[in-house]
Amino acid sequence: MKSVKVLGPGCTKCKNLEKNVRDAVAKLTGNYKVEKIEDFQEMAKYGLLSSPGLVIDEKLISAGKVQSVEELVELLK
């Protein structure tokens, strides 16, 4: 199972990234576990300096960026 985490306290960009991630996962086959992390202590452990953060299998992929559904499908394949 692939783990996908969206790190963000709940702003518009964070919500948009979470929605895009869930839409991307819906287009893919395979098992994905999508989580939204809003706790700053947890977020900080990934080393991001701006939100939202995208973490795939415990690796910080991006910070401060909202990828499109299409971009996320490619990242999550």
């Binding site: 518009t12 202590q41 452990k45």
Partner: protein, 124 residues
């Protein structure tokens, strides 16, 4: 893995540790610091927007306390430093930030009436 805990202390503990020679690192942006700043002997300002390129200016052999307005940006900055090789036992976040520092009556430079509560670095 991220199986570590980022240490946090309150403004009162931070104030009490100043005499031990700790270095405060204020990660607020320059315009915020220009309006109101911590009045302490050992402090440097490295804004969040510059931290990725300037974090090497922060000494690794000193006890560091990261500070900002409410303690959220500085918490992210603390995590960033630890992920980039700083000792989890030497880098600490000051929770509740400048707002609580002012509430506790600790020394500042600038106008506390205009303290701007800028929460986190969320969305730029």
């Amino acid at each position: 893995m991220n199986d570590f805990k980022i240490n946090e202390i309150c403004p009162t503990t931070t104030f009490n540790k100043l005499k031990e020679g700790i270095l405060l690192v204020d990660v607020r942006e320059k315009d915020e610091v220009g309006k109101l700043s911590f009045d302490v002997p050992n402090i440097i300002n490295i804004p969040m927007s510059e931290l990725e390129t300037r974090y090497n200016e922060i000494p690794k052999n000193k006890d560091i306390v990261m500070v900002c307005t409410v303690g959220e940006r500085s918490l992210l900055a603390t995590g960033f430093l630890i992920k980039n090789g700083y000792d989890v036992n030497k880098v600490t976040n000051m929770k509740l930030g400048l707002v609580r520092w002012v509430e506790r009556g600790f020394s500042t430079k600038g106008d506390t009436l205009n303290i701007e509560v800028k929460k986190s670095s969320c969305c730029g």
